[in-house]
């Protein structure tokens, strides 16, 4: 089971790609759906690989990602 989990506020995502690039486990991907601001937003394509390192959250300029980790 995944050791971590990301929660993405899709309305806040602006498709900059930072989280995708800096995720060490390649968990995230830009999705195919558009939010109400017109951006294709990020989704966790491989949630099971998430280790909860929070690199994505730290990098996200729009505070779109919150991160959880196994206690």
């Amino acid at each position: 089971m995944a050791k971590g989990k990301v929660e993405i506020r899709k309305e806040s995502c602006k498709n900059c790609g930072y989280c995708v690039k800096y995720c060490p486990k390649n968990v995230l991907e830009i999705g195919m759906e558009v939010n109400s601001k017109g951006y294709l937003y990020v989704t966790a394509a491989r949630p099971e690989d998430c280790i909860g390192c929070a690199q994505c959250g730290i990098m996200c300029p729009d505070a779109a990602i919150e991160v959880y980790r196994e206690d």
């Binding site: 971590g4 930072y18 300029p61 505070a63």
Partner: protein
């Protein structure tokens, strides 16, 4: 049981920011909130906002905020801090604001060692007005007012190094330049911001954190390309580091 290890700071409201995709203004706003939480100063925090994309943060952050005329944030913060010494006052300014129109206000506040914190976003260009040359624009970089690239031979001047310049003044207590190009640097930036606020809490005086960031929109790059450009070009002109840390000097003197 999962524990939240990275939470959205209460320093920003439940809104979508007005910044462009990938703009690090957002990153810095977030960090200021996190630092305020960690230092327990959220309810004392006051922002004196410069004019520019900085200003897009006015309805995004969650604490007292006031808007200064373009370039005058440090003067305004001076008045605020002198009359409300218990508030924790920071200015948030772009390079046009802090280094062009506001140069005198910035330097004199530093020279007086005003007990304020200055967050300086150096993205090498005027953001909100649409990509004009800033004092920090790199040589050769195109802008709407240097359509053939900034050229000192044409009287367009040279990139200005604010940490280095302020470091010529006796006043300031702490001066550091950081960036946000990867998680490690974001963490370093946050540590610098934290130090800058801690100094104010301790009554030490003027602290400035200069953060080298991108303006993907006016640089005409994708956010990721813009990060590469920071690494390849901006940081060559603007080396990272601590330029002044009187707390270190004080310790050494002990």
């Amino acid at each position: 049981m999962m524990k939240k290890v990275y939470a959205r700071t209460t320093g920003i409201q439940d809104k979508v920011s007005g910044f462009c995709p990938g703009c690090m203004h957002g990153t810095v706003h977030k960090m200021i909130g996190e630092v305020a939480e960690e230092l327990g100063i959220m309810d004392r925090l006051v922002r004196a906002e410069g004019v520019g994309c900085c200003g897009l943060g006015q309805n995004y952050v969650s604490y007292d905020t006031t808007i200064s005329p373009h370039g005058r944030a440090c003067a305004m913060a001076t008045g605020m801090k002198r009359s409300n010494p218990d508030s924790i006052i920071y200015t948030y300014q772009g390079d046009g604001d802090l280094a062009s129109i506001g140069l005198a206000e910035t330097m004199h506040a530093a020279n007086r060692n005003e007990n304020i914190t200055v967050i300086f976003i150096n993205n090498g260009i005027y953001g909100m007005t649409g990509g004009q040359m800033a004092p920090t624009t790199l040589l050769g970089m195109k802008s709407t007012t240097t359509p053939e690239g900034r050229d000192p031979e044409k009287g367009q001047g040279y990139p200005m190094h604010m940490c280095e310049i302020l470091n010529q003044l006796t006043g300031p207590y702490y001066l550091e330049r950081t960036t946000c190009t990867d998680p490690a640097h974001v963490r370093k930036t946050k540590a610098a911001i934290k130090k800058a606020f801690q100094n104010q809490i301790d009554g030490k005086g003027f602290s400035m954190v200069e953060i080298v960031t991108s303006c993907p929109t006016n640089w005409g790059m994708t956010p990721l390309k813009a990060v590469d450009f920071i690494n390849s070009d901006m940081l060559k002109e603007y080396p990272l580091g601590v330029f002044r840390d009187r707390s270190k000097e004080e310790k050494e003197a002990e």
